[in-house]
Amino acid sequence: MTSVDPRIANLDRGAALPRKNGELVFKAPWEGRAFGMAVVLNEKGAYAWDEFRARLVEEIAEGSPEYYESWLSAFESLLIDQGVMSVDELGRRASEYASLERDPVF
């Protein structure tokens, strides 16, 4: 059995992951994907977990209504600032999905 991941354990003081009786809860599949992507890229060494966590805390402090919306914004801003992708690239791709120009199954 896996012990508690220290990355997750240190997400507290306002940045704690939503849980239902101790379990992580994803209300919609995209929340799970957003969660998984941020953890994977950290595992692969793209950034230190604290870099992500600091942005998440900031996003939450700005008062985004939903936890995973903050998570997504923090992840996007980190990738953009790191030069992994540009704002335009990301925006264009998102609108292609939103307008169904691009098939959401890949």
């Binding site: 059995m1 379990e23 799970g32 957003a34 992507m37 994977v40 992840f75 998102a94 890949f106």
Partner: protein, 213 residues
């Protein structure tokens, strides 16, 4: 919390209509990261699955480990499961009871939900797929010894088997026997050998072979 677990997880499948803004942003991120060779969909699947399934039983495992090292706590746990779980700082819903079943040399316990998939997910995480299957739900009652054997738990004839049917109001968690060869282990080490299946009653905690070398 809903009364039953079986409809809690919607199966959304494909998107017949346009994705929401948040969905579109997530799709954009994942597709771009894949194209750039930074991750694969399988990487993401693996993380989601690990967090949903493997880390799930951690609360139950810690409760069991604590009961193994502290006889007074063990007594409180058997007497009032939810209160003892809260005592360790975990949440336990007030709407559902939890009875903790102690395995002894002469009595084995296993848990099922014959009607659906009532499960103590507050302490064990998400139920495994087999727990929800029709064969397990019926055979756990009709031929528990055979089912246990299939899971790798062979019981001598003089050990009785109690099968407990979970309901929406009352859930069960099995307190397995502490295995030999774990003297001097820390609670964390002990918790690491208490699997989800041990707390459903279809497995025994196992001391890894290297620990005895």
């Amino acid at each position: 919390m809903t009364k039953h677990d079986h409809h809690e997880q919607g199966d959304h499948g494909h998107h017949p209509e346009a994705p929401s803004d948040l969905e579109a942003r997530t799709l954009a991120l994942e597709s771009l990261l894949i194209e750039k060779g930074l991750l694969t969909s399988e990487d993401v699947d693996r993380i989601i699955s690990a967090y949903e399934h493997d880390i799930g039983p951690m609360i139950g495992a810690r409760v069991v480990a604590h009961a193994w090292v502290d006889p007074d706590y063990r007594a409180r746990l058997l007497n009032d499961g939810p209160a003892a779980i809260r005592e360790l700082g975990y949440d336990y819903p007030t709407s559902t009871g939890l009875t903790v079943l102690e395995i002894t040399e002469k009595v084995h316990h296993m848990v099922v939900c014959t009607l659906c998939s009532c499960y103590p997910w507050a302490v064990l995480g998400l139920p495994p797929t087999w727990y929800k299957s029709a064969p397990y739900r019926s055979r756990a009652v009709s031929e528990p010894r055979l089912v246990l054997e299939e899971f790798g738990v062979a019981l001598p004839a003089d050990v009785s088997v109690n099968v407990w049917d979970s309901s929406s109001d009352l859930r069960y968690m099995v307190l397995p026997e502490r295995p030999e060869g774990t003297g001097g282990w820390t609670e964390e080490q002990l918790a690491s050998i208490v699997s989800r299946d041990c707390m459903i009653g279809v497995a025994r905690p196992r001391v890894p072979a290297e620990a005895n070398r």
